[in-house]
């Protein structure tokens, strides 16, 4: 009987400890992200100058651009997590890929939504089938596919392998989205962030606010991925506990 108790405890080491709020590097990062985002809001509305041509709606740039760039970066994390998982079958890399995939899905959805809300007053249309927009929509479908493969494959290890393959193939689109405005010049403006950004495309203050916004969102993203990984770890422990109880012929339902 002691053996049984020990295995159950090993499967659920967290059960004995109540989840009390503690000062951890993760909570400090979350707090820092919150402060940075509040400062970012102040900079966007009180410091950044009003664009001479577009007016105040141009302030959407300070959230749209970082969100769009981070949605692409998240897919690079998915790519790294997927490759490392397929190489070593370590669940931690799989969790990193899933967490980045989920967060990336939120970001790419917001990139599309904020883009649509910006396009209407600036281009006078909600949507146009221009290369970058179309490829971003394709990226949204790839992210959705990645998460659906994950959710609907019954076997946990098979789900991890299948989604890792989708993650690796899908990351190609993330690169194409970034280079789209260089390869196919159209209505969408060129890059303002990254190696292909045209220098002087934004004024000094605008550029500073955009860079600050990018850093604030980046810190927030790292925190989000970290928190999601912790949740996935807890769900994994629950899965192991259920498996152990079923193996012993006991009820694994609450």
């Amino acid at each position: 009987m002691e053996d049984t108790e020990t295995t159950v405890r090993q499967a659920a080491p967290e059960a004995a400890t109540k989840s009390a709020w503690k000062l951890t590097p993760r909570s400090v990062l979350g707090f820092a992200a919150g402060i940075l985002l509040l400062i970012d809001l102040y900079l966007i509305f009180a410091v950044a100058p009003t664009d001479a041509n577009l007016g105040n709606v141009q302030r959407a740039l300070y959230i749209h651009v970082p969100i769009a760039i981070i949605s692409l970066l998240a897919f690079i994390v998915v790519f790294v997590g997927s490759v490392l998982y397929l190489r070593g079958r370590n669940g931690l890399w799989d969790n990193l890929g899933v967490a980045a995939g989920e967060v990336g899905f939120v970001y790419v959805s917001l990139a599309l939504l904020t883009g649509v809300l910006w396009a209407k007053p600036v281009w006078n249309v909600w949507w146009t089938w221009e290369p970058r927009l179309t490829l971003t929509l394709v990226l949204w479908f790839i992210y959705a596919g990645y998460l659906m493969v994950r959710a609907f494959t019954p076997d946990r290890s098979k789900a991890a392998v299948f989604s890792a393959i989708v993650g690796i193939i899908g990351s190609v689109d993330a690169f194409i989205v970034y280079f789209a405005v260089q390869w196919w010049r159209s209505i969408h403006p060129p890059q303002v962030v990254g190696p292909l950004a045209e220098s002087g495309s934004l004024s000094g203050t605008m550029n500073m606010v955009l860079m600050f916004s990018f850093i604030a969102f980046l810190v927030f993203t790292v925190w989000l991925i970290w928190e999601r990984m912790v949740t996935l770890g807890t769900e994994d422990r629950l899965g192991r506990l259920r498996f152990e109880l079923r193996r012993q012929g006991r009820s694994a339902e609450v």
Binding site: E5, A12, T50, T114, T231, E235
Partner: protein
Amino acid sequence: MIQLLQTGMPPSNLSFLIAAFVVTGVAFMAYVFFVFRRRQEARAEIEQLTRTTATEDARTETQ
């Protein structure tokens, strides 16, 4: 806000700007809530399963 008050901008533009920020804020808050709620549910279930198992084991031992 100061910048918004200083310049006379068309109201339609302002509504698009506000919508973009509100949508972003709501989406992030909803996702953070989803992550924490799932973790809380998993932790509660782990705790309950462990407690049930321990009670069952204690009962078997006394028998």
